[in-house]
Symmetry: none
Subunit: 417 residues, 2 copies
């Protein structure tokens, strides 16, 4: 079954509101095997709405319309739908009672415009809105359906979950779509694609779809089966091959994040972590402590942005700072090892680099970053060359450092100092 | 001039990625008077792309296409555009050199798939991508234009700002819309609206438009003139009235950020700043040091997330920690005053609070936050009650702390300890 999402509202077009409704509908439809083919966003304009519905009925079976059902003058969806489906508005008594109850419970006076919210098209099934005053509407049309809902996210979600999805499941015998995603860090999209070309061919030849979803520092790989959950085991097996081949890159699945993954490892091993940060300036610590319950394993950090504080707070050798510079293997290793002692933690990770855009030299260009990890057993460091953009270099350093901590905790880093 | 945004990518349809590109393009187009009429999101599918371009050319003058330009097999936009505009791919030498430089600077090997990124359609103008390997493409078609860009947000934004907007402004004589925005922190949207009702009426009666643009911790106020820059002085005068009335809330204009504003103040006064953070865990320091050139005024921080580190690193009194608790006026003031000495900075700001979702009590509920600022003259603290959501409480604390630093530096905080 093909779905089109039709989002109505000027605030979406001028970028004042992010269209998170379409994102949520996309996620929920995929879960039950409805395939979203098209998302169309248009203005609160009658002819634009009519053309969009015409086009959507040509290519899809189910149209999910959000927005334009409010009580103000710029909300015209209801009237436009009456015109489109050649019907009239009439007072819908159950909806009127529901609206009256809504205002009574909140002790707020009911306005004329609120009563008009109960005027609904004759030729549709009304879908109650328990969270607001704009009811949903279900229109049948030549074997297809159009469902109109308010744009307020939690009202729309309520109607979808309570009314729309159960009816759709019943009405169209839904064959599932099944997705699975794995997450990698530390390998670029093209390099990953080249390394897994054989595996990718196998996946595609078996009739599954594969997508690369890159974002700064991460690449997600998603396999999709249009035959539903029946191919779940097969997809898991494909991903197991990848995990075994690239344990240092593959760090998780689905919605997991690196701070969650290392948080779980630290809790399991009952270890405390701390950081000594220069070029990340707190971004690494913040990513670790932003997870609920981080106080169980995160104690604190030194942010030693200036050389003076590197010496004074964590005892980096003045001679080494002068000899090798702040952005060096020697300094970053002292930061991690000394920080571990001074913070009294089990694992300490340190960063030092040229975040940019200024401060680069021929020997130490913008984007050069050192990361060190100190544990009870050893301290070792890694060198990276990231890009030109300051905030992106900071984020790349954070993600890379988190993945190195993961690898260290799992014993995946082979090189010894 | 009418614009259609065409977003290509399965990840958008299934809701794995939020379409923030369309939001940003909507905002930026509106600023220069281009009207976004339609946003269409479709899959990486040749016939869907071709139908969408056909439909978009019928209703709009400018089509902005994002996505599907990566080096992997599922990226088909470039080939589809060749077919649509009846042209062939050929190696574009400047792009090849740019890609080679991109990999050379990063010391990374170049793959066959990266070289293929330099194969571009003959019948278009190439728009260099300084942040990645997928160049932008500008096609002219029957008096209209189609521009194809990568979907990675910062690559797309770079191409739009460097190449596309300047050309569009020149090519279509854009009739100015003039916007001016001022930024406030520390006052909620409805409270602000109530406080400036008289001023708002005056603005609206003069034929200018006013919009409130709230985001967590900030409210932007935007005045728009559809008569272009001719009303600039008048708009400035309106905003001057607001700045004089609310100097503690109004902190900047347009795209300014609080870290930039306090960065400029610290540089001007030749002062060094440091932080001692508990509930913000590095987010405050990171926001300060994320600004280019922050090393001129930011030295470093203590992140004392555990009570033990509050005592051991910055010498908070063990008795006071036991008596008042970590989230208290007494502790946050000691953190700031002692941190100032130990970091050797002029201004030190500290945070301690219950970020949530756990750890709240009746006396100290989730969202309770103390912030202190220590200078050579005095140390004083402020108490806030934010909300229930952890990451949002952290962000509210960061923005509030930054604005308090601004007020302190400008002598706007009247209460003495």
């Amino acid at each position: 079954m093909k779905v089109e999402i039709l989002s109505i509202g000027d605030e979406l077009l001028i970028g004042q509101t992010v269209n998170t409704n379409a994102t949520w509908l996309g996620q929920e439809c995929s879960k039950i095997g409805l395939r979203v083919m098209h998302v169309t966003t248009i203005s609160d304009d009658k002819s634009a709405i009519i053309s969009a519905i015409d086009a959507a009925f040509l290519r899809c079976d189910i149209i999910l319309v959000t927005g334009g059902l409010g009580p103000t003058k710029d909300d015209i969806t209801k009237h436009t739908l009456c015109e489109y489906f050649d019907t009239e508005l009439e007072i819908h008594l159950p909806t009127l009672q529901q609206i009256e109850g809504f205002f009574a419970r909140r002790n707020r006076p009911m306005l004329e415009s609120n009563i008009r919210q109960a005027e609904l098209p004759q030729k549709c099934e009304i879908l109650p809105n328990l969270n607001g005053t704009a009811a949903g509407m279900w229109f049948n049309h030549a074997g297809k359906v159009l469902i109109s809902m308010p744009g307020v996210p939690y009202e729309m979600k309520g109607i979808m979950l309570d009314e729309v999805f159960p009816r759709l499941k019943q009405r169209f015998e839904l064959k599932g779509i099944y997705h699975k995603t794995i997450l990698t860090q530390g390998i670029g999209e093209s390099f990953l694609a080249e390394s897994i070309a054989d595996w990718e061919n196998e996946v595609r030849e078996s009739g599954l779809e594969l997508a690369y979803l890159p974002s700064p520092g991460l690449v997600k790989l998603r396999i999709t089966s249009y035959e539903g959950i029946s191919r779940k085991e097969e997809i898991n097996a494909y991903f197991t091959v990848l995990k075994d081949r690239f344990p240092r890159y593959v760090f998780g699945e689905e919605e997991e994040t690196l701070p969650q993954v290392i948080g779980a490892l630290l809790r399991k091993e009952k270890l405390q972590i701390g950081t000594v940060e220069s070029c990340t300036g707190g971004a690494l610590a913040h990513s670790i402590m932003a997870i609920t319950g981080a106080s169980n394993y995160f104690s604190g950090s030194f942010l030693t942005y200036s050389n003076e504080l590197k010496q004074r707070l964590v005892g980096v050798s003045e001679t080494d700072l002068a000899k090798f510079g702040a952005v060096s293997k020697e300094v970053v290793e002292q930061m991690a090892a000394n920080g571990r002692e001074k913070l009294g933690v089990d694992v300490c990770v340190s960063t030092s680099g040229v975040a940019g855009p200024n401060g680069g030299t021929t020997q130490k260009p913008v984007g050069l970053v050192f990361i060190a990890i100190a544990t009870a057993d050893r301290t070792h460091s890694f060198q990276f060359q990231f890009g030109d953009e300051r905030e992106r270099n900071i984020q790349m350093t954070v993600l890379t450092a988190l993945n190195l901590v993961r690898c260290e905790l799992l014993g995946l880093i082979i090189e010894k100092k």
